[in-house]
């Protein structure tokens, strides 16, 4: 029973800490109205973060060992090309992922 109590407090603590990180800016800045800094960040932080998330996904690839990163580069190029041509996110993502799975699994 001690174990269950530990597990429950563990989960609640982690849940609360995670929620705090997500809610903090809404609590701290909700009164700032249309502050120009926040408007600026609202517009330009998302594109920057999107690129950072993309880089984060491929950061662990070892680019200097034999075929390191080649499959990822091919698949991401396909995603980009498909998206520039058709601009249908679903098609772009599924084509790239399908190709990537094929390349990884047939290696």
């Amino acid at each position: 029973m001690d174990n269950i109590f530990y597990l429950i407090s563990f989960i609640l603590t982690m849940s609360l800490a995670t929620f705090v990180t997500r809610a903090a800016p809404f609590i701290l800045f909700h009164k700032q109205g249309e502050h120009p800094l926040l408007v600026f960040l609202g517009r330009y932080l998302p594109p920057a973060i999107m690129l950072l998330l993309l880089i984060y996904c491929v950061k662990d690839i070892n680019w200097f060992v034999d075929k390191g990163g080649v499959n990822e580069l091919i698949a991401l190029s396909v995603v980009t090309a498909a998206h520039l041509m058709l601009r249908n996110p679903l098609i772009s993502i599924l084509c790239g992922t399908g190709l990537y799975m094929f390349l990884q699994q047939s290696a």
Partner: protein, 259 residues
């Protein structure tokens, strides 16, 4: 030529928001979250915990990195203070998501509270991409449109979490019994971010956010441990963006005073 309205990222303005037409937008997250959640469920079950603990953690914590870290912390019987501190640090990048969403979240009451609770990397990405596309023509919105957008944002957050909970549960229940080779399926997430980078560029038509992000990513990967890359590079990016905004204002003021 396709117009943004035909895009997956924005629903038709005249169409009412339904789960069905929002579902399409969350599909890449489905394919990314289910295998990732399964990996978590599998690892947790391997530690000897009943399957439903994976489900419960997916429901009440709902953070990939924190949940994976939980496995190690549980094995080490970490104290609550340590659990709270590591989680705060690990998830502190979320603070920046809220910063740029304060004016964009149109939901109110418990729906808004839930969206904030469910603000993962992927949900944030979908919400901001959708917002950027919808607001290219800076028009005033009616309260009714805001209400529809709030409903849409809520559905996106809820669908994404349901995929995560589903993945955690399947992984814990089936364990190693899975035969389908899902190697590479989680590539949907980098592919999604690639698409969103393109969409964000099309919406803002500005290169500087990407240049700043690239510089910060390279700097943080070269100077620091790659596990802390997201937090460090986002912090650096925020600092540079704020600096740029200040310079822009100063430039504007000096041009004004020169007249």
């Amino acid at each position: 030529m396709t117009t943004p309205d035909q895009s997956l990222l924005s629903s038709q303005p005249s169409q009412p928001v339904t789960i069905a037409n929002s579902f399409k937008m969350t599909l890449p997250v489905l394919f990314g979250y289910v295998p990732m959640g399964m990996a978590f469920g599998l690892l947790l079950a391997d530690q000897g915990y009943a399957w439903y603990w994976a489900t419960i953690m997916g429901v009440v914590i709902f953070a990939g990195a924190a949940q994976f870290m939980a496995i190690g912390l549980l094995a080490a019987s970490a104290g609550m203070f340590e659990v709270a501190m590591t989680t705060l640090l690990l998830n502190s990048r979320h603070v920046f998501y809220g910063l740029s969403l304060i004016h964009h979240l149109k939901a109110t009451g418990w729906r808004k509270l839930y969206i904030i609770f469910g603000l993962t990397d992927e949900t944030y990405s979908l919400l901001t991409a959708h917002h950027a596309l919808k607001h290219q023509s800076h028009t005033e919105k009616t309260p009714l449109e805001n209400q529809e957008e709030g409903k849409f944002q809520f559905i996106i957050a809820a669908l994404n979490q349901s995929y995560w909970v589903l993945g955690c549960t399947i992984g814990a229940l089936l364990g190693g019994a899975i035969t389908f080779d899902t190697t590479g399926l989680d590539f949907t997430l980098p592919a999604l971010f690639m698409v969103l980078v393109i969409e964000q560029y099309k919406a803002t038509r500005k290169l500087f956010p990407f240049v700043i992000a690239l510089i910060c990513a390279i700097a943080s990967l070269t100077l620091f441990d790659s596990d802390s890359m997201l937090l460090i590079s986002i912090t650096m990016t925020l600092a540079l963006l704020l600096g740029k905004q200040q310079l822009d204002i100063r430039g504007l003021n000096s041009r004004r005073s020169a007249k």
